[in-house]
């Protein structure tokens, strides 16, 4: 690749600037759509992953445990790698809680002479490691500890959540893959059609004695230029879009305010453009037969 090739590619671009501009815009739009899709799925993924955050177990304690026993138990539970936090809820706390939840019928509890509710630990689990199987295992371990009366956790609920998370992730990915393949194909087609008209030019170059790479290089450079510029355009458009999007909807919906626009897109979009432009041009030219 010489300076000549670069100049030749550039002059080609300039001579037909409108159609190349249109191709570049089209590439930008395609990649923009892709990045919007990507960010959407990415955020669904994050959101889904955060669902089990509030998942916790309630460990009911036997009555009459000593403060020592209690601390030992708390330590033992907290030491498990799944557990993020253990909070003690005393018998009184539990009654207060019940009283609150009976709002409007508090007088129900007025007749009580002693507090029948047990003290308990609320065990919060680490979000990332919440797995139905391992949670089941943990529950079994805790139940067998001294001082533990019973343990309650939403087994079914957990299973349900897990299932939803998986579905959201897998279907999101399927979705994204369809979107990606579609956009790739459309962008590729645009480059391919753009170069289809060049069959004559390629033929002439061949007849003049040009080798395959001499012919290809200017076209590949054109493809790469379209792709990279398109990718950069898509990047700018994406950031602008998400900025406006978050400004518009983020205020009323915290989930959107914290929406992640992965910075890997900074490099990925122009790279994707480069890849599409390059392979698009390469395939569009096809095998150069002499």
């Amino acid at each position: 690749m010489s300076l000549y090739h670069a100049k030749s590619a550039l002059s080609g671009l300039w001579k037909e600037k409108w159609i190349y501009l249109l191709s570049t815009l089209s590439m930008a739009v395609g990649l923009f759509v892709m990045s919007v899709g990507f960010v959407a799925v990415y955020n669904m993924h994050i959101l889904a992953r955060e669902l089990p955050e509030k998942f916790s177990m309630t460990v009911y304690l036997k009555d009459g445990l000593s403060a020592d026993d209690m601390n030992r138990l708390k330590g033992a539970i907290g030491a498990d790698r799944l557990v993020s936090k253990v909070t003690y809820i005393s018998k009184d706390d539990a009654l207060d809680e019940l009283r609150k939840s009976l709002k409007g019928s508090e007088n129900l509890l007025d007749g009580l002479d002693n507090n029948p509710l047990p003290a308990s630990f609320e065990v919060k689990l680490k979000r990332k490691s919440v797995e139905p199987a391992s949670v089941g295992q943990l529950a079994k371990e805790i139940r067998s500890m001294q001082g533990v009366d019973d343990i309650q956790y939403g087994q079914e609920f957990l299973d349900q959540i897990q299932k939803i998370v998986r579905i959201v992730q897998t279907s999101g990915l399927t979705f994204l893959a369809a979107l990606l393949a579609g956009v790739l194909f459309v962008c590729y087609t645009s480059v391919k059609i753009l170069f289809y008209r060049k069959a004559d030019e390629v033929e002439t170059l061949k007849l003049l004695g040009a080798t395959g790479w001499f012919i290809r290089v200017p076209f590949l450079l054109e493809g790469v230029a379209i792709g990279v510029l398109g990718g950069a355009g898509a990047l700018a458009a994406s950031f602008a879009f998400f900025k406006v999007f978050i400004a518009r909807f983020g205020a009323s919906m915290p989930v959107l305010a914290n929406m992640a626009v992965p910075s890997v897109m900074l490099a990925a979009l122009p790279l994707a453009g480069l890849f599409i432009g390059f392979t698009g041009a390469l395939i569009a030219l096809g095998r150069i037969r002499f």
Partner: protein, 220 residues
Amino acid sequence: MIRFENVSKIYDKHPALKGITFLAGKGEMLFITGPSGAGKSTLLKLIYHAVEPDEGTITIAGQGTSTIRAGQIPYLRRMIGVVFQDFRLLTRRTVFENTALALRIRGLGDQEIKNSVMETLKLVGLRHKSDVYPESLSGGEQQRVVIARALVAEPMLLLADEPTGNLDQDTSMEILRIFKDINARGTTVLIATHNTALYAGSSKRVLRLEEGALAREDLG
């Protein structure tokens, strides 16, 4: 330089050339004539490997064209300068770049290219049009760019297909003089033409094709 042995070319069942046999020696200048559709262009295309024969063998500079490896074809073609009947100018390049193409392909340096191209354009009277795109040239001017492109690399073999179809008598004779010059410097020249003025009185060999067959060989 060129050896055709019993060469035939059939397009979709229609024979364009039938059993052509002829020789052209190195440094020779030779004319091909014949009515429209007789097969002149096809004969030239066989030489620069744009089409392949259905029968017979063709040898160019000692190289059989049917046994050549695909990778060698560009190098075979670089020995040959072609004035295409349909011009084949690249619309996206200026006159200068169209002419320079023949040298770019051979990997020459910018300065050398500039000198050779400007000199050749001057030869065909188009120096002042070097920065113009082909679409704003007259028919005869376009034809002269094609001639310049075929000449600029000083090929071993020059094939000119109806090179004066769009040129007036004076310019035609000027072009013929250029062809004779390059021939005098050792290039084998093969001209397919209807223009009898090009070979009349030249005492060069003139092959006459008729309906794809070699009908007559004469001296012009």
